[in-house]
Symmetry: D2
Subunit: 483 residues, 4 copies
């Protein structure tokens, strides 16, 4: 086997949508802020595995360290090496094409007001237009990340203070953005008016922490204070925390997929425990599907909480019918398809003693392309499962996301081109039930239905998208870039 | 933070006993045997994470590639690059002191009979004595691994065939050994007369596979045929498989800890499904302890199957009260103790929405030093758990293992110096119940009690150990080397 | 010896001034332009060893690959991987402080006119002021390199064509700059009006090459065509080469140190063979010094050509009295001063059989701090040399350079604070002679004296410098930054 | 350009014979012996560039660190980390086939007498036979290096002391060997009875040093004491140095190529300055050839000393007609032959201003395959040289070496199949003169002719070789292995 012949094996998560980023910020003069950011990013690693970065300041000088890879790989040789009282960090997932070293965050620049560092989670839907306008006015761009757009807007703002500059710069920006911004003396957190992506505030001793998810607060021992509101900017300095509302929105639109798959179950987002939401999805699934079987199993790990809910509601015992290899990292195999199938056998294995001779309800969180689901069903049957009823704790995904999720091209979404019965046949399950959109909303019981974004299910985009679409006809004629 | 100040963080498993090795062998002219071994080692990665190696032969020449790290790290740049029809592989965990590059396996040597490659799982209790005798006869040793002892014995055997040489060499060897041995034309599997460590045979097309656990057969698509018997040697050549009994034992002594913790739940060892055994342990625990509570949770991932059994037997719902970070690799932190505690917060986090205000039964597989258990109990209470009843799916561990497990020094075994009530106080649980030895044996229902080794629980060592002991007084006066 | 205790050993060249950069560009549709740039940078490696980069374009897309280290280290895993017909490259030396990954060149940006890539050799003396002005107008800066200043000026130019934009942007720029600029369809070379740094044009088949030195043309098999004139811009496109004069200068000021030390002897710069210039310096030294001795030796490698000239003029035989270790790379030692002395013994060794009992004339090109010279003199005496007469093929260096050379702080220049006789005593030589400025100019016989910059010798800076000075009193009161 | 397409470029030295090893040892309780060995190996780096290793002992424990690459690469992360008073080191060059990690030296083993570490320079001509005999007696071999043979012989010796064991083990060994051997308390140096390879002793403060060449003594500041005699063993312990003659030889046979090419000019071997020998070779060449020309140039760096001697004797001025790139490390290019030619342009460049219009005498030390010589001649002519007379400071090489030199296969030796006039035509020189064997011996004036090995020139092998040959007919029918 020659070097050139080794290929990266797409892992089982490759058949999932991917969160694009996680962000973290800390202002704490009593703490090792670089180290706290390191641990915070660790806790947010599930939101991005392709690059990581940490920027710090001591009040005068800033430094940043960035690289490709997991958090522990990027900082293998140490963290930014200077005393500091503010730090921000970023983890990023991105498609192969743009996963370049120069696209890593946080960005760190000099501008007329001094130094500024910025990390961004989300996707600006009019980044291209703004970028063009800025270029017309003489800006140059060294990366393809939205953070560079925002930082140029800030640098060009004629407002006097950094807070005003940020607000000024966001006035013309559309789409999804949670930002952590660091100046020499301030840590600023911003959440877009729709509140697409999550951002919360925690207290750590005398200091303050910002993080995409509350699990990162737990990781550093910070106490959860509250979520940042959509359209809110929080400014943390040595004088404490102040808050400003910089924009109003007629439509809150928190990403519903955070509850289905992206966020960690131990996080609480906008007042809703992710764990409880998923558990409820399972319960609802049980009521909706009415499937009967010997056991309920999950596709680990993301399907497990819903499967437990299903078991609880239905009374059918939960069992571990599929075992996941805990050591799957970046594996290399030869590119032939045959070997890819073997790849799945490596990551997941059916527990024959559990499923043999049994009728099985298998719960997974979502189906994207459907190829992996088909392999898992076959694996269960090979291990002796009599019947496999598949339950999905989300509705069929028919539409791409423009707000910070790395979605597959629409033509690859199996639910965009196939009906449920066709999908069932494709994956070889004996039955297939998708959670209804109503059932999904009922499960996320702490959040009003109208304040969530369901566009990937029903094409009702809450904010402008970068391209034309015809939802009535359900025909997408666009798909610019990766969409 | 300077380079020199970064330390490896012992992960949560550091408070577990560690399997020392996994072995794999394949004879198959139609397959890419190096690649199959790679996947096989992947499936056995839980048995050893510090080094890996693969040796191959094409019938004339042998090559080996070995290195420190996980399987995907060691073979990042490719597998042994030659056509081959036999391959053997090895993964190894070892204590820091001896985890040197030159101690990696498989060993590959030239001797009077040609070339031979060998990988070993287990621990020879008289290796030191044999090594001294061999040195007296002029042998030199370049490593500190037992494989080098065995290969020297083989090389010195006056027997005619490789099979006879191997049998001859094992005649004076005591302790635990499963071996895969490769010559230019044969693949040989050996299991010691006590059968301490597991070894099984699988069929892959026209070829044959040997592996420590059946999950590795599944990984490469091989069909499980049977376990190798204690005292059996299987010889695989182009003429098929033959078997020889090379030794009798008055005492089968399969390692009971394989069922408790080491093996993967999807493996079947000596006819006993590991999953079912663990599930039964949980059920028995429920009956024995009689604890009542709102929920049953597990310390993921190894405690989960027993927790499900507990839930099933008791009717108390199972929930995911602790969430594990799936991206914990080799992390680096500053060495202060304070930071170690933070380490645990990174690897595990309590799910407050699950445990808040609840009485909780927490199931774990074993307690070694007890330090991690204490931290987890505190974490649950900090998250709002009203009471925490800890259930352990094994008896107290009081004695070290001499048969291939990397055990802590006896003085570090909390059960060697503290009574159960003292341990409960130490870890801060409201109740503590250990599975009884009888209950444990009842749970491993397919295996006769007398054919398992329980020495770590009751000091009844089934084979000579390398040192003096006084079980009656329960006072260990020895502890040579790491024990 | 712990990791943290290892320090980089400054090599013998650390007591030399360092050229800061080498640049290379190629427009050739029949060639592998990335590979040619790779070889070109190899030939220019003496001009910068800390980072390297290559940017390429196929007429539509641009890509760049940059990294820290030598050319063969940066491109160890391959060159930019796309078909291309234009490429530019850069090697850089820089002081430790600013040798960051993000300061590597070429820069590659998007601006209103498309993409542009740029590499720069030299130093803008008013970069700071321009940077501030640009920041006032809304620019942000991600690096500390002058290229980013220039590219922002280009992006802001209101001129229509790239040529006009470049000319427009250079109008307000002072100092030293040779540039290679790449657009999707053009390769542009620019040399500042003073012509501080060298740049030449070569022909390679149907294509064209730009390089800092002619030795890089030889390396890729290109034929030398001519030097780029000071104040000239050459534009290479599919239509061939055109030339524009964008600025006039009342003062040509080619760097005299290129002939003394920086450039490779096999290069020809502005019509003057570097080898012949150095040979002449040696001859002039012989006439000026009038030293008599048994042998002439050189401090290899840079002093050798002048030593041969000395030998030729004086009739005193040349011998290799000092041997250089050819394998000195990046060495690591403990930081104590004692070990530093050992360092010199590693890089250079006296040949006792050559110098024992002899009176020796030792020729070196320059003295910066004098510490290394002192060690070499002592080494020769230890090896038995009777007397050591040191001859330096340049005048005393008393003033820092602002035009692209990494000079020591003025206080470290031994000639800034000590007279020749004091220096002789400091280095322990029996005699010491510096080449006179007149003798130096006479040696560079093909170049009119008035067209060279001698500021480091006589403080007559031909262009504005970034700070106040009082040459009359020879008191420097400034030393901003490293100067 | 894909990874797989990059090939290592053989450098100019690839057309030279290669020394296979350099060894170093130190016994000094007042020194950092690991660091001293590091510097010593640096000074011996020209004797081997493919692997390096250092072993140390503190009197009780031994440790070794070995790796592939240059000394500074192998020890990039530090030296063996323990206090120590004895150390030995090794650098190795070897053909691609056997340059494996497991073949690196020093070897470190446990045997009946404790621990022993050993490094070897040379080649045992009966290693294969001894290896077979040892295997018959039960030894196993994990490497293909001769050191492993010797250490097995030592381990099997029935003698009482380590000194006697070593002597015993060498009794049956043929060929070339210089050894440094380390026990917990002693440093032993051994030179074979023919004295093929060099070994010398130095004094460093209260301690002692052994090294292949005296330049390594200079490097660590040790004073040269004397060469180890052929057939002598020196034993260094806390009681000082003792010496034993363990074998007599009827034929001293120091390698003549050490003086021609291998050793560094600043070394003195067996009383002969390498520099003076090479200078004399040049003088003799001048007398023998009688060539007249405008200038004498050398192929740097190895041809320079002889070229200076030629210039001195003939009165024709020496000039630097070829410039060598000082930064050539491990370069990567595409494998096509065209690119290889480019490779030579990278490593060497003609100085047109020196050679243009001139008749040139070019001095090189040897011609192996002749391909590089031909390219250099063409390069000089392309640069304008009128005529090129090539002078070689050694006789034609017609026979392979069996005593520790990595020679080309005989069929690749141009002088084995072509006459001088044919070679001249092949390389395109106007004249070609090889130094006569008599002239060579006359140049090495301090060494009696009969005590040198000339086998590569005249097929008179002073010791048994591993294969049949017919010198009378000058027909080699063997070439086992690489020969």
């Amino acid at each position: 086997m020659r070097k050139g012949e080794l290929f990266v094996l797409y892992d089982i998560q490759s058949d999932k949508w991917r969160e694009e980023c996680g962000i973290f910020g800390i202002f704490a003069s009593q703490e090792n802020v670089a180290l706290a950011t390191y641990w915070g990013l660790y806790a947010l690693q599930h939101r991005g595995q392709e690059s990581a970065g940490i920027a710090v300041t001591d009040g005068t000088v800033m430094d940043v360290q960035r690289g490709m890879g997991l958090v522990n790989e990027v900082f293998r040789n140490g963290l930014p090496d200077m005393p500091a009282h503010i730090a921000i960090g970023h983890v990023r997932y991105s498609t192969t094409g743009s996963s370049l070293l120069r696209n890593t965050q946080p960005l760190l620049v000099n501008y007329s007001g001094g130094q500024i560092s910025l990390a961004h989670n989300g996707n600006l839907t009019n980044a291209h237009e703004i970028r063009e306008k800025l270029e017309q006015r003489g800006s140059v761009f060294q990366t393809s990340i939205d953070s560079e757009v925002i930082v140029n807007l800030i640098a060009r703002s004629s407002q006097a203070t950094i807070e005003e500059k940020v607000i000024d710069s966001l006035a013309g920006v559309h789409g999804a953005y949670c930002l952590v911004i660091m100046t020499e003396t301030k840590l600023i957190g911003v959440r877009d008016p729709h509140g697409f992506r999550p951002l919360c505030i925690g207290r750590l001793g005398e200091g303050w922490v910002l993080a995409s998810e509350s699990c990162a607060l737990d990781a550093v021992g910070a106490e959860f204070v509250r979520d940042v509101d959509p359209g809110e900017m929080v400014i943390i300095s040595k004088d404490g925390v102040t808050s400003r509302r910089f924009a109003e929105s007629d439509r809150r639109a928190g990403c519903i997929f955070e509850y289905i798959y992206f966020a960690r179950p131990d996080s609480v987002i906008d007042g809703q425990s992710v764990y409880q939401a998923r558990f409820n999805m399972g319960r609802t699934l049980a009521r909706e599907s009415g499937f009967k079987a010997d056991i309920v199993i999950s596709v680990p790990d993301s399907g497990t909480t819903a499967a437990l809910g299903y078991s609880h509601e239905s009374g059918i015992p939960f069992a571990e019918g599929l075992m996941k290899n805990r050591y799957i990292g970046r594996t290399f195999i030869q590119p032939e398809q045959k070997k890819r199938d073997m790849g799945v056998r490596i990551k997941l294995n059916a527990v024959a003693s559990v499923v043999k001779g049994k009728s099985v309800i298998m719960v997974d969180d979502s189906i994207v392309r459907g190829t992996t689901s088909g392999k898992i069903v076959r694996m269960l049957k090979d291990a002796g499962a009599k019947t496999v009823h598949m339950c999905v704790s989300s509705p069929p995904i028919g539409f791409p996301c423009y707000y910070g999720i790395d979605t597959s091209a629409r033509k690859e979404l199996i639910a965009a081109t196939k009906k449920v019965e066709e999908i069932r046949q494709f994956i070889g399950a004996d039955s297939l039930h998708y959670l209804s959109l109503e059932g999904l909303h009922a499960s996320i019981c702490n959040i009003p239905e109208k304040t969530l974004c369901n566009a990937c299910f029903n094409c009702e985009y809450p904010a402008p998208t970068p391209c034309e679409r015809d939802c009535a006809s359900n025909k997408f004629v666009f798909e610019p870039g990766r969409n």
